[in-house]
């Protein structure tokens, strides 16, 4: 993890990430499916959790998770089928932030947009991270 990124535990509620485009070439989807061991016959359909995983990868280009961070909850809403080869845009924001016993609980909302601009997948990721000063 590079120190140039901002730690999630220092981000305030309402913080908006920079939109980030990412592609879904078939080989990237195949690598995901191989890693999770999923042998379903998807054809050119991208599993929604693969979309979320790759969107979270884009998030982590901007936001670092401190050592000791834990993923504690996940919500996903599929709004339309995503297909291999599509170009998507990740938009994210810190929807909630609270502190408890030296840890910061952050809820990160992701909106993954298709090329036409409509939402394809929405997600809410809850992360528990060692505490950091706001704005640090």
């Amino acid at each position: 993890m590079t120190s140039a990124r901002t730690s999630v535990s220092t981000l305030p509620r309402g913080y908006e990430l920079e939109p980030a485009q990412f592609s879904l070439p078939p080989e990237r989807i195949d690598a995901y499916l191989l890693a999770v061991g999923d042998r379903n016959a998807y054809g050119n359909i991208v599993p929604p959790l693969a979309v979320v995983a790759l969107a979270l990868a884009e998030l982590q280009e901007q936001v670092s998770l401190p050592e000791g961070s834990l993923h504690t909850a996940q919500e996903v809403e599929h709004l339309r089928t995503v297909r291999a080869g599509e170009m998507l845009t990740m938009r994210g924001r810190i929807a909630q932030r609270s502190e408890r016993q030296g840890f910061v609980i952050s809820v990160i909302e992701l909106d993954v947009l298709a090329a036409e601009g409509e939402s394809a997948v929405r997600a809410r990721t809850t992360v528990l991270a060692p505490g950091g000063a706001l704005g640090a």
Partner: protein, 125 residues
């Protein structure tokens, strides 16, 4: 709905880290992970959650991919060597609209809940 069972391996954690970009050392660095409260590496939550996604797509196909919803909590870590089973119980079905809702979970061989929550499929537009 047919459950999905898989045994987690450290190699799988490394492959998922590569595929997902999540290189948190708790998943990929065994030396570091031994110093933590977990005493060893643990699987990415999204890696274990993928079993539920696999199960739902196997049962519902594109309906899941196009109008599914999932809401879960990660209750306990999955570890290399664990055999995890994803399963679902139908909790609501509306024949008219086609909406269905399930209680979903992933559990290890000891019966400990690793993930629990709800999955649903909304009606077609």
């Amino acid at each position: 709905m047919a459950p999905v069972t898989r045994t987690i391996t450290q190699q799988q954690l490394l492959a998922y880290a590569d595929a997902s970009g999540d290189l948190n050392p708790i998943h990929v660095n065994e030396q570091f992970a031994r110093t933590t409260m977990f005493g060893g590496t643990i699987a990415h939550g999204m890696l274990v959650l993928a079993l539920i996604g696999e199960m739902m797509f196997a049962a519902h196909g594109e309906a899941w991919a196009s109008r599914g919803k999932l809401k879960v909590r990660f209750k306990a870590p999955g570890r290399p060597g664990d055999t995890i089973t994803a399963s679902a119980q139908l909790t609501r079905e509306d024949a008219g609209s086609g909406n269905v809702e399930y209680a979903v979970q992933c559990a290890n061989a000891a019966g400990e809940t690793v993930i629990e929550g709800r999955a649903s499929i909304g009606s077609a537009a």
